[in-house]
């Protein structure tokens, strides 16, 4: 048992409880409910009308933040005015319960060697061929058939990351530099969430020739 998060009721108080050593545990009665996990950063929150508990191995008083962008090249190939180019990449954020987090996209849209940048989609919209567009979202799409919804590892009991507004609607894409594209859910941030970024691009007749490149700079900002 470690000492960190406080649980209390009118009768007693527990300072950070840790339950069990293996797998998810769901224990409940009319008075309390608890969840625990084995392994580093297996965390969970639970609550009832009488108390809240937080389970895990890392002291909640210690700040923790982890973000991994799985390095990859998303190559659209040669753009065609008649079809939408697509691609995807992945990253994950892992946090403990001591704050909220947001993931911000910092890069300009793909830009050519001549300095021309594809038009970022300022509002969520479906892709339109023949119209210069660059957009992303972080959910599962059917048209085009790319992407995946945020994956809570191992499930919603242990993580609460989500796609942000504007980037959370299937088949609708957006790209504005500085936007929050992903974030922790309501309350505190906890657990590991795997995100898939879906990219789409269209060109117009007027899109200048060139090789368009974007080194996607994703910044996670955690508030403790």
């Amino acid at each position: 048992m470690g000492l960190a998060q406080t649980s209390s009721s009118g009768s007693y108080q527990i300072n950070e409880s840790f339950f069990g050593t293996g797998g998810e545990v769901n224990t409940s009665s009319s008075s309390y409910q608890a969840q625990g996990a084995a392994g580093s950063l297996g965390v969970g929150e639970s609550g009832s009308s009488n108390l809240d508990t937080v389970a895990g191995f890392i002291e909640p008083s210690d700040e923790y933040l982890e973000m991994v962008v799985n390095q990859a090249t998303i190559d659209f190939g040669t753009f065609s005015i008649g079809s939408t180019a697509t691609g995807s990449g992945t990253f994950h954020v892992r946090a403990y319960i001591n704050g909220a987090y947001s993931v911000i996209t910092m890069s300009n849209p793909p830009t050519s060697e001549g300095g021309a940048a594809l038009n970022g989609m300022s509002v969520p919209a479906t892709p339109t061929t023949g119209q210069e567009q660059f957009g992303i979202n972080l959910v599962d799409n059917s048209s085009p058939n790319i992407g995946a919804n945020p994956a809570l590892i191992p499930d919603a009991a242990y993580a609460n990351g989500q796609a942000a507004t504007g980037y959370n609607s299937a088949n609708n894409f957006k790209y504005v530099v500085g936007d929050v594209i992903a974030q922790s859910g309501a309350g505190r941030a906890w657990g590991q969430t795997n995100f898939t970024i879906s990219y789409i691009a269209n060109i117009a007749n007027t899109t200048p020739a060139g090789l368009y490149v974007m080194n996607h700079d994703l910044v996670v900002i955690a508030t403790f």
Partner: protein, 449 residues
Amino acid sequence: MSFPGKLTSRFGRLARLFQAAILLLVGLLPLITSGGQVSAAQLTNRVVAVSTSQAAATGVAWDFEFDFTSTDVEGIIFTYCDSPVSTCVKPTGLDISNDLTSVSGQANFPANATAFVEVAANTGDCSDTGIAVTVTMYCVNRTSATAGVGTDASLVINAVINPTVASTYTTVYVRISLYDNSTFSNSGGAGNTLVHSGVVAATMVNQLTVSGRVQERLVFCVGALGDIESNPTDCTTGNGFPTDTTVDLGVIDNTTIARSPVNTGATTSADDDYGVAMVNTNAVNGVVVTYYAEAASSGSNQLRNFRVSGTTCSVTISSLTDQCFVAADDTNGETFSAGTERFGMQVTCIVSNQGIGTTNNLEGVPDKLNNVDDDVDGNTATDCEDTDTGNEFSWNITGTATTVASSAGSTDKVVDDELIKLRFGATASATTPTGVYAVTTTFIATATF
């Protein structure tokens, strides 16, 4: 921390001693784990936002923001470590040495007008700062005895070099310490106290590289378009671009100025055509359309003039008695006067985004070709070949291509099916010999990608 009395009343003395020991241990735990910041209150809503998470990036701004309860803040230490607690180890590659970094963006501190300045040498708890790349601390101070609450108090440390990414990510934990004195003293008592502390985190990560290629494109076509025909919408015949390439001015005499399109009539061979050239390119640096007159394959002298095939013209280009027309001045253009032998070309307008393409970037028509209004863009009529008045023409007899129009001077330089309308004009002198006069013109579109 409290234990309910109902529970503790059941313990004996030994249990109470054990409990006291536990309480003592718990009380000391923050001291053990937070590097001596036992008396400091916690900074809340604390965050750091980096301007980029790129590994080893230079010139990075680290923007700190936090809240604190009422206090006098005269010194702040930012300690960059690879963990939130215990011994501080500088993340590999990170550089916050104070010959590199600077402080700015101070906001919402008590007495905020009194700025924090960088502390260049070790002082008090600021024990690892300086110009060495190995330092872990960046310290700032000021002298201000004004206490106050800090809400969204912020400060930016600029020009940091980010750490490298070990394997997949590197998290930097910055331990922030606020002092009520400018010497970073924590010896105790007012004016010698570490008053607030807290840790924030930023993660350096790999980047996703997104790329795609837009292929170079240049479509250019030239033709003779009938006056009654609609404007073509692109260079394909299916969309109205003519296959005809002859503009016939019909009968040229010394009483009028023949200007294409010259209406077809019973007494003239005129074909009611005018010249057109259309461009479509995605060249980012624009396109330049030029022209020159082809040299006649037979005859001699004035081979690039409007002339009778095979004839020998005068070596004097201003001759009004040979079978070569006098070329309109190609330096400044020349306004024709009926009866004074001249031949030339003008641009009546460029039809751009008037229902054809989507751009309006082709311009740069030199004055000599720009008719008397000197404004092809100002003539917005799509049938400007009929409505554009004026008889200023020029003609290039040098054999070197000269500019007709260009998008290189436009802000946006790509050209989407913009149509240049060309007028040819001629008038004869009383002495101009009879004959069938002709000249072939070559147009060139040069795109710069």
